[in-house]
Amino acid sequence: MTRMIDRRALLAVGGAAALAPWLPLWARPVSLGLPTVSGTDIRLKIAHRMLTIDGRTSHAIGINGTIPGPLVRLREGTTARLHVENALDEDSSIHWHGLILPFHMDGVPGISFPGIAPGTTFTYEFPVQQSGTYWYHSHSGLQEQLGHYGPIVIDPAGPDPVEHDREHVIVLSDHSPMHPHVIFKKLKQMGGYFNRQKQTLGGLIAGEDQTLGERLRWGAMRMDPTDISDVTAAAYTYLVNGHGPQDNWTGLFRPGERVRLRIINASAMSIFNVRIPGLKMIVVQADGLNVRPVTVGEFQIGVAETYDVIVVPEDRAYTLVGETSDRSGMARATLAPRAGMTAPVPPLRKRPLATMKDMGMGAMGGMDHATMDHGAMDHGGDHGAMKHSMRDMDLAPTVKDTPAVQSISPMAVDRTGEAGQGLEDVEDALTYRDLVALDRNPDTRTPSRSMEIHLTGNMERYMWAFDGVKMNAVKDPIPFRLGERVRVTLVNDTMMTHPIHLHGHFFELVTGKGDHAPRKHTVNVQPGGKVTFDLTADAPGDWAFHCHLLYHMHAGMMQVVTVRAPEDAA
C-alpha cells in the first residue's frame, strides 16, 4: 500500500518540479522529496559537496550527493546490508540512530568499530527487527553538522496500525556556513558567543524581561536566563529536508487525505517547537515506536528524537513551523494541495527566559519568577543551597567536584509533565506524560537496582560532562549486566535542555503508564529537571551514551555503557 502511495506522491511532486526545470534545485517552487534507497544491498557514498541554502553556498558533506542523505527504506523481518563508501579525506562512519542491532554494527568509531578509513567501504549487516521512523548520521568528529545525516523508514512486516493515505518525511536540521570546528572554538572562547538575545539595559528601561532585583539575584549566581541555546540563528539557517525557509520545501497532499508526517530532528544543536497553524496534529509514534494517538497543537522535538503525526488538511496551504526553543529562528516548510501555494509564516514569538525551576529549584518552580522575592528563597530549606549556593556538592555525592560543574540542582523535579522551554504558555502542547505505548512493554519486571546520572556543565568554560567527568577524563564505563533491568534517573544540573541518547536500546519512561510506558531511544531532560526510565540491558557489547547536542558531546558529555553477561564482567 505504501508503495502505491509513494508513486502517487512522486507523480504529483514530479509534475510540479517539471514546471520549472531551468531553476536551480533550491529555487524550485516545489522541492523534490529525498531520493529513496531500498532493497537487500544498499550503497551509500559519503563525499564532500557544496550546499546552497537560501541562495548562499558553503562546504558540506552529502550522502549519495544529497543533504540530507537519501531515505533508507527497510522492511521489518529482512536483513539490511548497507555498503558505505567513504570518499572524504578523513575517517567517517554511519550510526543507525534508534536501530536495534549487534553492537559492532552500531557505527561509533572507537566503541563499535574502528571507523571507515578514507577510500574504503564498510558493509553494515544486521537483521531488521523493528519498524518506524529513524535516522542515520556520522559519529565521527563534527561531520554531522556538515550535512552527514539522513532519514530511515522501516515498514512493518505486517499491516501498519497507523493508516494513512500519504506520507512525507520531514528532516529538520541546522546548517551554518561557519565550519563546525570554528563554532566549537568560539563556544570555548566565549560561551555566550551566539546569544544575541541577552538582557540589556535598554530592555530594563523599557520594562522588558527580568526586573532589576531579579537581574541582580541571577547575576549573584552568575546565571544567564537568556541562555537557552548555545548555537542560535546568529550562526544557523534551519532546514526542512535540506531547504532553508526561503527555499520553502513544499509537501503536496489532496484535501481530506490523512497525511503522515515523519518528523526527525537531525540538528546538531537545535531543539524545535513544531506546529502547523490551522492544523491539529495526531501524534501516533515517538522515536519509531507507536503510541496511542494523542492530538496536540504543538510539540517540542529534541535533537535526535522523531515523532510521527497524522494531519488531515483541508483545501488550503499550511505553514509547517519549526521554531527553535530559544526562538531565534525557525525552520519553515509548506504543506499545500497545489504547487506554488503558500500560507502566512507566523513571526517568531518572544524568547523565553529561564526560571528558578530551570535552575533546579523545583519546589520554587510553581512561583512566577517575576514575583519571586528573595525571602522566599531563604525559607526554602535548611541547606545553604537556597542561599545563592547553586553548587552544594553534598547534594550530589556521585558527582565529582570539577570545574565542569557550574551548579548542582538543589531540588530537581520530574518535568515530564511539562512541554519544554518556550511552550509554558501553549495549552495543547505535547508532554512526555501524554505518551502511552500502543504495544505492551516487552519487559515489565521490577528493576533490580537503580542509579542516578547527573548532567553537568559549565557555560563559562563550555565544559559538559556526566557526573562532572568529561569523557576524556573518564576512567570506567557505566556497567550493566546482560539481561538486568535497572531504573536510571537522569538529573539535569544545568540550565539547558539535554537530549540524552543511549545506543542499542529502548528504555521505558517512568511516567505512570504501567506496562504501556512509552519507549524511547532519546529523552529530553529539561533544565533543572529529572527523568527516570527503566532499562533492560538486553544488547551485549559496548554502546555509546551521550547528549545529542553535538558540541556538548564533543565537549565531553559522553560515556560508554557496557552490557556484559555476568560471568564476563570482571
Binding site: 523481518g77 553492537f103 559492532h104 572507537g110 566503541i111 563499535s112 574502528p114 558493509t123 544486521f126 537483521p127 527487527q129 505486517g158 496500525p161 497507523v162 493508516e163 538575545q197 540589556t200 535598554g202 547575576g219 552568575r222 501516533v284 507507536n290 496511542r292 488531515v312 553548587r391 570545574p403 505518551l435 502511552v436 500502543l438 504495544d439 512493554n441 516487552p442 515489565t444 519486571r445 521490577t446 533490580s448 537496582r449 559549565n458 568554560r461 569523557m471 576524556n472 557505566i478 556497567p479 550493566f480 539481561g483 538486568e484 533491568r485 503508564k513 504501567g514 506496562d515 504501556h516 510506558a517 538486553d538 557489547g541 558531546m553 565537549a555 559522553m558 557496557t562 556484559r564 564482567a569
Partner: protein, 327 residues
C-alpha cells in the same frame, strides 16, 4: 564485512547482538525475527478497554483513550520500587576487540576518548589598543592577554604598557603564566613577569588569580616578587554593561599596592596608584569593537609625592579611543 558479521554470529550463537534476558518472554521483536512464536497476536492490538484503534482515531472516527489517564496494570514494573542490588564491576571497554582485533580498535578508541572533552584551544584578546589624549602630549596604551591549552591547564601570556607619541615609552610588561582551573569560575596563575622600558626593568615571580566573580565581574589579582625581593600587588575588576546587544559600557578599576618603597620605579609603600576607566564599545561583530572612553590615573600617597617631586602629575585624566579585538 559480512564475513565478520558471520564470525560474530558464530561466536554468539543465540541471537547475534540481541540476546534476550533469561527472564524475558518472547518479544514482538524476536517473534518478527522468527526466533520464537508469540503466544498471542503481536503488536497493533488496541487496548481492550477502548474500541478506538489508532487508525480510527487517526481518521478522526473516534477519540482514543485520553492518554494522560494512568494505565492500571498490577504487573507493570513501574508500580514497585526497584531493588537494591549492587552495580557490577566496570569491565574494560573492549567488546569490539573480539570482532575487529585489539590492534585495529586501539587507535580509534584512544582518539574517541581524547576527542570528546580533550580538545586544545586558544584565544588572543587585545582588550585595549588605544590612543590617550590628556594634558600634554598624546599617548598610547595596550592591554592584551592570550591563552592556549585545554579546559583546565593553559599557558597564559599577558602584556600591557603605555607611552607618548613622539615622546618617551613609559613602560610595559609581559607575563608568561601557567594557569590552572581551581573551580568553575577561577584560575590560579603562576609564572614570570618581565618589565621593560626606560630605567629599571625588573623581573618578577607572579602568583595570581583570575576569573568571574558574582554579579558578572571579571576580576584579576596578582602578587609580584621582583628579583630584588620587592613585593607588589595589583587588583583589577571590570564589568560589561550591555546597553543593547552590541553597545556595551565597560567600567573598570585597577589598584596597585607595594609592600615597601621601590625607589627605582618611584613607588611608595602602601596603595600606590589607582586607575579608573569607562569605555563604551560597539561590537560590529563579537570579535571587533571600536570604543571611546575616559581613563583617570591617580598616584596615591608617597608614590604621588615622588611623582610630584620628579615634576610629574600625580593625577592624569585622559580621553581614550581605541579598538578591542580578539580571535
Amino acid at each position: 564485512m559480512s564475513m565478520i558479521a558471520l564470525l560474530f554470529a558464530a561466536a554468539q550463537p543465540p541471537h547475534a547482538g540481541h540476546v534476550p534476558p533469561p527472564a524475558l518472554a518472547c518479544t514482538p521483536d524476536h517473534a518478527a525475527m522468527g526466533h520464537c512464536t508469540m503466544p498471542e497476536p503481536p503488536a497493533a492490538s488496541p487496548p481492550p478497554s477502548s474500541g478506538c484503534t489508532a487508525e480510527h482515531a487517526a481518521m478522526g472516527h473516534c477519540k482514543s483513550d485520553t492518554p494522560s489517564a494512568e494505565v492500571a496494570d498490577p504487573h507493570g514494573s513501574h508500580d514497585n520500587p526497584p531493588g537494591n542490588e549492587a552495580a557490577p564491576a566496570p569491565p574494560r571497554v573492549d567488546a569490539a576487540d573480539t570482532i575487529f582485533g585489539a590492534d585495529a580498535m586501539r587507535g580509534p578508541r584512544e582518539r574517541l576518548y581524547a576527542e570528546h572533552g580533550g580538545g586544545k584551544f586558544s584565544k588572543l584578546m587585545i582588550d585595549e589598543a588605544e590612543w590617550r589624549a590628556g594634558q600634554g602630549s598624546d599617548g598610547y596604551a595596550w592591554d592584551a592577554e592570550a591563552w592556549i591549552g585545554g579546559d583546565i591547564d593553559r599557558l597564559v601570556l599577558k602584556s600591557e604598557g603605555e607611552g607618548a607619541f613622539g615622546g618617551d615609552f613609559e613602560g610595559g610588561e609581559a607575563q608568561a603564566l601557567w594557569s590552572h582551573a581551581i573551580g568553575p569560575y577561577f584560575d590560579v596563575q603562576a609564572g614570570v613577569r618581565q618589565d621593560f622600558g626606560p630605567g629599571a626593568s625588573p623581573t618578577h615571580a607572579v602568583l595570581g588569580i583570575e576569573g568571574l566573580a558574582p554579579y558578572w565581574f571579571e576580576v584579576e589579582g596578582a602578587l609580584f616578587v621582583s628579583h630584588k625581593g620587592d613585593v607588589t600587588a595589583r587588583f583589577e575588576a571590570s564589568y560589561d554593561q550591555r546597553i543593547t546587544q552590541r553597545l556595551i559600557a565597560q567600567p573598570m578599576a585597577e589598584a596597585d599596592f607595594a609592600m615597601q618603597n621601590v625607589t627605582e620605579t618611584g613607588v611608595g609603600a602602601g596603595l600606590s596608584s589607582i586607575e579608573l576607566g569607562l569605555r563604551l564599545r560597539y561590537e560590529f561583530v563579537r570579535e571587533f569593537a571600536p570604543y571611546v572612553g575616559v581613563v583617570w590615573e591617580r598616584k596615591i600617597g608617597r608614590t604621588a609625592r615622588l611623582a610630584r617631586s620628579a615634576g610629574e602629575d600625580a593625577s592624569r585624566p585622559s580621553f581614550v579611543a581605541g579598538v578591542r579585538f580578539w580571535f
